[in-house]
């Protein structure tokens, strides 16, 4: 790494993405935006795993002549599972938002809260 970064450049990006995502989840009142925030948050973790498996100059772990450096495939495989889980979570979350929209006619958290407090 020729960059003058303290630490790995990727990690800085990951932390920034992670905090952006987390902030959206906490700060936004729109239920769809919350799910988007959750996705950004999860994607940053996917990147964390992918980065940790990458070996500089390494290729995909395929047995062939002339290739000596391989990236670690395990974190990549793990994150494939996590991506599937993430997709399932997003789908379920959005399905819930659709149902919420049908019954409450809004997807703004403050309006829903107001309706719930009325009884």
């Amino acid at each position: 790494m020729s960059l003058d970064f303290p630490g790995l450049f990727n990690y800085w990006l990951i932390i920034i993405l992670m905090l952006i995502g987390f902030y959206i989840v906490i700060a936004h009142g729109n239920l769809v935006k919350k799910i988007v925030g959750l996705n950004v948050f999860q994607v940053s973790v996917f990147l964390l795993y992918i980065t940790m498996g990458k070996v500089e100059g390494g290729t995909a772990p395929i047995l062939a002549d002339g290739i000596e450096v391989y990236s670690n495939p395990l974190p990549h495989v793990l994150i494939l599972t996590a991506i599937v889980v993430g997709v399932a979570t997003t789908a379920l979350g959005l399905a819930l938002v659709v149902r919420i929209k049908e019954t409450y006619t809004t997807i703004e958290e403050d309006e829903i809260d107001a309706m719930e407090n009325q009884g």
Binding site: K34, P75, L96, R99, Y104
Partner: protein, 494 residues
């Protein structure tokens, strides 16, 4: 031969049974199918527990790939005990649930309900049985995703928002957990819990390991609803269908607490992590705060389901308190409280489910004279309530007795005082319901003898009876809890 494959069958049977529900579709047939499956799972987990108590740890390598490369299922006395708790509660909940599911869930969706229920059981059993940190995450998400669906099936529209909030909080918790696992893998190159337990001590001073511990703790505390990360729990319990509330209250948070124990003692056990960082005192503080805050808020609830939900938060505090003491007695008290609380909360929520079925409301203001209208149900409720307080001859007394003993052993007598004081708060909220049900004049309500159907009463009294039984004869449960605690706590091995 079958004996050898029991650990994997324990997971495979409910996992494969879930999609079959989608083909059966007929509500009654699906119920019979689910019942058959959970009643098959119970003897399997009991057989595993007996085998473990007899021969020690069972290791099952998936596809014969040796750990730490392959995934291994590792059954010791602790998680065999958890398996029995989950399957036992499930085998009581399914027969109990038939009437309530029919009345609370549209007939066209009942087969989906049971499919999700089986998946939820799979997830919970998987968390307990696996010996691989990442595999644990996958099962955690299987159980969580199915739980969100189960919660959202509630009749009240607030069930939807409760499920949504649970989904957001739960996913953050699970993501924190995988960040922690990722950091551990980064530092050690292993995902096997036993292997991690050997590798981690060498690099205990490493910042990555400490960050991993922080992420794992927060992630699992969210899943276990440890104060102050409990915000998702009251609404999820209050608005979910009654059957789901019974099952979740009795098992879901317990399994998360188990995962917590596994991480704290399994992975970080040998470096005495509870002493290395101020984690022990932090946990102790949060546990005590949960005991008081949960009980105090419970006192002011008007919805009986919410009241019990807040009481659950307090009870989780007791479990974590036992664990944070880091002594054999403390951890054993925490583990035995897992079991006892599953019994009593299961029984209590079953009583509320029956009341909801008969009267359509569990609001305290509608419960006047309930002691006369539904005598058997309220009697079960009172026994459960006494057990929450920790009155002798109930299971709750056993847990609190050992908890106080552990506190005194370690010389923390103020902690023992706090345990007793927080129990007094439990007296108040249990008494509120008892007073309304037995001592307030029925008012406008007709004084009819309105017994709940036997289909609901029998499972309810099975759990309530177990609460009394394990309160009188706690030798079996305490033996298992002690064996498990001795294996976990460093220096506690016999």
């Amino acid at each position: 031969m079958i004996q050898h494959h029991l650990p994997i069958l324990q997971i495979l049977v409910p996992l494969l049974a879930a999609p079959v529900c989608m083909f059966i579709r007929h509500p009654q047939v699906v119920w019979v199918w689910t019942l058959a499956i959970v009643w098959l799972c119970l003897p399997m987990s009991v057989a595993l527990l007996l085998q473990v108590l007899d021969q020690g740890v069972i290791v099952y390598e998936l596809g014969d790939w040796a750990a730490p490369w392959g995934i291994e299922y590792r059954v010791d006395s602790l998680n065999a005990f958890i398996l029995v708790i989950v399957t036992m509660i499930a085998s009581v909940v399914v027969p109990y649930g038939r009437t309530l599911v029919d009345s609370e869930i549209p007939a066209s969706r009942i087969y989906l309900f049971y499919a999700m229920f089986l998946l939820c059981i799979t997830g919970l059993l998987g968390i307990a049985i696996t010996g691989d940190a990442f595999n644990l995450f996958v099962f955690l998400e299987i159980s969580s995703l199915s739980t969100y669906v189960l919660v959202s099936l509630g009749k009240d529209r607030r069930a939807l928002t409760a499920a949504y909030r649970y989904l957001i909080m739960g996913t953050i918790g699970a993501t924190f957990y995988i960040i922690g696992v990722g950091l551990l893998y980064m530092a050690t190159g292993s995902l096997n819990i036993v292997d991690l337990g050997k590798l981690v001590p060498a690099m205990a001073d490493h910042r990555t390991i400490q960050a991993a511990l922080a992420f794992l703790t927060v992630g699992l505390a969210l899943k276990a609803a440890l104060f102050p990360l409990h915000m998702w729990l009251p609404n999820a319990y209050a608005f979910a269908p009654s059957v789901v509330t019974v099952f979740l209250a009795a098992t879901a948070t317990k399994v998360a607490v188990y995962a917590f124990i596994r991480v704290i003692f399994g992975i970080f056990g040998d470096i005495d992590v509870l002493a290395l960082l101020p984690v022990r005192y932090l946990l102790m503080l949060l546990a005590v705060a949960a005991m008081f805050a949960g009980s105090a808020v419970a006192i002011y609830q008007n919805d009986a389901k919410r009241l019990l939900a807040y009481s659950s938060i307090a009870q989780i505090g007791y479990m974590i308190l036992g664990i944070s003491m880091d002594s054999v007695t403390g951890v054993a008290a925490g583990i035995v409280h897992l079991f006892n609380h599953a019994l009593m909360k299961g029984g209590l929520f079953m009583a509320l489910g029956a009341i909801l079925y008969k009267t359509g409301s569990v609001d305290l203001r509608d419960m006047t004279g309930m002691g006369r209208r539904m005598p058997f149900t309220m009697a079960a409720f009172v026994v459960g309530g006494l057990s929450l307080i920790g009155v002798p001859l109930t299971a709750g007394f056993v847990s609190k007795w050992y908890l106080i003993q552990a506190a005194l052993e370690a010389g923390w007598w103020p902690l023992a005082v706090l345990i007793v004081l927080s129990s007094l708060l439990a007296v108040i909220y249990v008494w509120r319901i008892v007073e309304i049900a037995y001592f307030q004049p029925g008012g406008q309500l007709p004084k009819i003898y309105d017994r709940a159907p036997l289909k609901l009463l029998i499972p309810m009294w099975v759990l309530t009876g177990a609460t009394i039984y394990f309160g009188i004869d706690a030798t079996t449960t305490m033996d298992i809890a002690y064996t498990a605690a001795k294996a976990l706590v460093p220096g506690g091995a016999p």
